[in-house]
């Protein structure tokens, strides 16, 4: 699984990245977590709310997420 956190480096985006890393560790998921801070690349995903969560090239969630929501999205 390839997980990407889209965000330009604001507080909410950093928080989401940390949450995702924790969840991946906790659930022992086989996933690579990366951050995408380049605005031009971010806009290719057609999102208007940041941060956003991308799994295997697909936007699965937008906005601030709690750890529980991240778990739900990643285990779906």
């Amino acid at each position: 699984m390839e997980i990407k956190v889209l965000g330009t480096g604001c507080a909410g985006c950093k928080a989401l990245y940390t949450t995702v890393e924790q969840v991946v560790k906790e659930l022992a998921l086989d996933a690579v977590v990366t951050k995408e801070e380049d605005l031009m690349k971010i806009m290719e995903y057609n999102v208007m709310t940041l941060p956003a969560l991308v799994v295997d090239g697909k936007v699965v969630a937008k906005g601030k997420l709690s750890a529980k929501e991240v778990k739900d999205v990643l285990t779906k």
Partner: protein, 322 residues
């Protein structure tokens, strides 16, 4: 009720004298802090609920899919007012609008109102200035977005967008129906909305405390009418001066409003104060540097210059009417 609690706490428990400057300042501090925190929490919850049902993607689809005969400026500004403003989302939003083929003027209408009318500013205004001044502020904010957006739209500023935005604009499609309806029931959403509202309150708490602290100190120690001698209504340059000073400032609305309230009670005309706050909240240097990614400096200059001018005009108008 809050006033009674503050009285009880400060005069009965702390044993301070209500007639002293210290007693009055501390009472003011507790009363305003409690009142504003409660207001901020509730307004954030209400805005959170509205947003859960009107996500920005929905607005974009609405604006691109219908002929609105000029009303689109109103909708864009109105949505700017009810959506929470986060500087980290302003650029993706801008691009998202351009990508959807929404005209630049309408995008500007959103961009002007969004930071100006936000939950923190509204809560602070109701808490310190009351409903009447708050409505004037909110309505002016929306009107400013509409008029500003309309004029900026008429000025044909597209050539001053940065190159990659121009490319996006050329490839724009109104077919952006990626917005999917969420089916989470209301009662399951509410805890998340409350959590977010609490997050907003926590985020600005420090600024509120500092702002009200300074306000309380001035409230207790600065004599009535003290500023009148420096900034009376007859002083024609007071409005432009305070607006121009305010534009580069990036004071959180939470910190600045309580201080301004005291300025007003001590003799600054309300119109000058309102114009000052619109400029502080609506325009800032960090915003300008963010916009640099999508606009040339020239366009940012035109945008900021025009809005500054409008806020100055509004300031004079308030001073005449209010």
């Amino acid at each position: 009720m809050i006033q009674r609690f503050a009285d009880w706490l400060v005069y009965d428990i702390f044993g301070l004298d209500a007639s002293t400057a210290l007693g009055e300042a501390i009472n003011f501090f507790f009363y305003d802090t409690i009142k504003i925190l409660i207001l901020l929490f509730f307004i954030s919850v209400i805005m959170g609920i509205i947003n859960a049902y009107f996500p920005i993607e929905r607005l974009r689809n609405y604006l691109t899919s219908r002929k609105l005969y000029g009303l689109q400026y109103f909708f864009a500004a109105l949505f700017g007012a009810i959506t929470p403003f986060c500087s980290c989302s302003s650029i993706p939003l801008f691009i998202g609008f351009v990508k959807g083929g929404i005209p630049l003027g309408v995008t500007f209408a959103y961009l002007i109102t969004s930071p100006l009318v936000n939950e923190v500013a509204v809560a602070m205004f109701i808490g310190t200035f009351g409903l009447r001044i708050t409505s004037i502020y909110v309505i002016s904010g929306i009107l400013l977005g509409m008029v500003g957006g309309f004029i900026l739209g008429k000025m044909k500023l597209e050539p001053y967008l940065s190159d990659w935005v121009k490319q996006i604009q050329q490839n724009s499609t109104s077919d952006s129906g990626t917005w999917e309806k969420e089916h989470t029931p209301f009662f399951r959403r509410l805890p998340i909305i409350m959590q977010e509202a609490w997050g907003i309150v926590k985020g600005v708490l420090l600024y509120i405390l500092i702002g009200i602290g300074i306000g309380a100190f001035m409230h207790g120690y600065v004599p009535e009418g003290f500023f009148e001698q420096y900034m009376s209504k007859d002083n024609w340059f007071a409005v432009p001066l305070s607006v121009v000073l305010a534009v580069p400032m990036y004071a959180n609305a939470a910190g600045i409003v309580p201080v301004i309230e005291v300025f007003v009670t001590k003799g600054i005309p309300i119109g000058t104060a309102l114009a000052f706050m619109m400029a502080v909240v609506g325009l800032s240097l960090p915003e300008a540097t963010l916009l640099k990614k999508v606009m040339t400096w020239r366009l940012i200059g035109i945008f900021f210059g025009l809005i500054t001018l409008f806020i100055i005009v509004l300031g004079y108008l308030y001073n005449i009417v209010l």
